[in-house]
Every structure is written in C-alpha cells, then in structure tokens.
Amino acid sequence: MRVIEAILASFIIIAALTFVNFFAVNPSSQKYETTELEKLGYNALHDLDLQGLLAKFVYTENWKNLTAALSVVLPSDAYFNMTIFDLNDNIVNDPGIPISYGDPEIFKNSNVIASVTYSLIGHLNGNPFEYESLYDPRILSLQLVRG
C-alpha cells in the first residue's frame, strides 16, 4: 500500500538531486592545472633558494647547472622556460644557453601555461670573513606547461 508513497518519495529525491546538479559548477580543469603548475614552480624555486643553489647559479651565471637543478626538482612531464631580468627589465641570462626543458612548440601551442615570478635580493661574494654582500635584485620568470 505504500508503493505510491515510495514512488512519490523517489520522485522528490530525484527532483532534488536534479535541481542541485543543475546549479553545480565544477571548476574548470584548466584553472586548476594552472594553479597546480604555479604551485609546483614556486615550490621548486623555493626549495632551490633554501638550499642556496638558486642565488649561487643565478649570480655566477651558471645557466647549465640552473637548468639541470630545475630539471631535477620539477617532474619530468613539466616543461619549463626561465628568463632572468634585472630591475631595468634587461634579460640577464645568455640567450645562447636557454634555461629550458621540453619542446619549445608546446609553449606556443598549449592553452595552459603557468607563470611564476620569483625574486632574488642579492648575493654574497668571496669566502667567509671576506664576504661582500651586495643588494642586486634579480627577477626570475618561470613558465611551465605539461608535456
């Protein structure tokens, strides 16, 4: 005798779920992908900075080692391209030795490119007790895409 009630109840539940589903907004995967890549890039730079490697490679202009270090700390499917500027927007890194990994075409064709800006304040020159501390900021612009 409660079949009608059960059917009505089912209709109400289905109607409620349909109504909620109609308004559900799922964040686009592109947005999350960009955020994830930005987080990845920032963490990689932050780790290298904490280890003292980032400033060392940037200020000694050791671009090959910087590329190798980034390749190690970033996942193999994350392609990157880094450009380093001084405060006058001059590119500091040698264009002949690109700080990049992966196919350059992907950067042109991908819809999801994450960009991270990281700053370095300055550096130490010399050995202990003969250090020279210089305020000389560098702006690191890291672009990331999934390969």
Partner: protein
C-alpha cells in the same frame, strides 16, 4: 478502519521525511554552489605564492644587510637596503599594487667581545596588495647569530663553543674556515669538530696548536655571511 488511518499516517510521515531530506539536499547544494564558485574565482594559491615570495625576500634582505654590517660596521645599510627594496618591489611585481611599509626597524646590533656574543637585526613590515584587496598584512623578518664560548679556554688548547641562529636553532656544518682567532693570537686553529650535547644541542670543539695563555677572541662567520666575535 483504525489500521487504515495508521497506515495513511505512516505514508504521510514518509512523504514529510522525504521532503525534509530533499530540502536538506537543496540547501547543501546551495552552500556547495557558493563555496565552489567563490573558490573558482579566487586564485588563493597565487596569492599565497606572491605573499610568501615577498616575505622570504624581505627576510633575505635583513640577512644580507646584517651580513654586510658585520663586515663593514655600516649600521645604516639595513635602512638603505629596505628603502631600495620598497621602491623595487613595484618593479618586480608590476600591476599588483604592492606597497611594503616599515612598521619598525631594529638596526644591526653587534654585541661582541663577550663570552656570549651575537649579531642581530630585524624589521617589521606591513604589506598591502591592492590587486588582491590585501591590506595590513604584518610580518617580521629577524636575522640573528649567537656565538657562545662555553668553557674557559685559558691554559687549554681547546675552545668549546655553540653557534645558534633565530629561535635558538643550532647552525650546522660549520668548518674550520668558518672560525678564526684574532690576528694577534699566539695560537692557530688546527681543527674544528662537533659533538651533540644534551644542554647545548651542538657544540663545536675548536682545537688550537698550543695552549691559550691570555684572553682569546674567536670569530665565526656562518653560511649567510653573518659574523660574530666572542672573547673569553
């Protein structure tokens, strides 16, 4: 007749219960909708990245300035560098409306030539980022290095010392070239080793090539370039 009424009431109860459940589902759906759409348009990670980057760079600036001061005795260097950093931030993050105010600055303080000596500097900042609607985010950057000679080294060839940084954390991996005795000292450092100690966590054992006969001044320079000189 009574049974039929009870059954009808049970049926009504089911309908009412289901209506309540449906109302709950719709309410939760509404809340989820608000949460998801709010999160969608607020790139929190990007904000945290930006704020974290500015905070870390500011800390590095205080470190760099203290390091500079301990080598040059220029106590104004921190304020000079902070002024430059405030100005340059707008170039580094254009379009964000970044404004870094100085709430307070503690110029480099070099308390040296005691058995417990230290170098110290700090600055408190207030960060505004108009693009994010962020206003008055305060943080403090502290740079500190302490050198303590824990034994009386006179008539001995060994100096036991602790080296600590912010929050009393020990400084690891200091080698022989990170320590130095004053230039007119009659003895030289032969080796530097370390041992763990229940009271001081990490103790550096500085072995000299002779017996120390007069008050000695020991210097340490850590990996950040910050120097301290202690006398016993």
């Amino acid at each position: 007749m009574r049974k039929s009424i009870i059954k009808q009431k049970k049926g009504q109860f089911i309908i009412i219960a289901i209506l309540f459940i449906a109302t709950m589902i719709i309410s939760i759906g509404g809340m989820l909708y608000t949460t998801v759409t709010y999160y969608k348009y607020e790139p929190w990670e990007e904000y945290l990245t930006l704020i974290g980057s500015i905070e870390l760079s500011s800390e590095r600036l205080v470190e760099l300035s203290l390091s500079n001061c301990t080598h040059t005795n220029d106590t104004s260097i921190l304020r000079t560098n902070l002024g430059s950093w405030q100005r340059d931030l707008t170039k580094i993050y254009p379009g964000y409306g970044v404004e870094l105010d100085l709430k307070s600055v503690k110029d480099p303080d070099l308390i040296w030539y005691n058995p417990i000596s230290f170098s110290n500097a700090s600055a408190t900042f207030s960060l505004d980022i108009s693009f994010l609607g962020l206003s008055g985010y305060e943080f403090t950057a502290i740079s500190f290095l302490n050198l303590t000679i824990i034994n009386n080294p006179i008539n001995s060839s060994i100096i036991n010392a602790t080296v600590t940084r912010e929050a009393g954390n020990p400084v690891f991996n200091l080698k022989r070239n990170n320590f130095r005795l004053q230039e007119d000292s009659t003895v030289n450092i032969v080796s530097v080793t370390s041992r763990y100690d229940p009271n001081n966590t990490l103790v550096y054992i500085i072995t000299c090539d002779g017996v120390i006969s007069s008050p000695v001044t020991l210097s340490v320079c850590d990996h950040r370039g910050i120097k301290v000189e202690a006398t016993y």
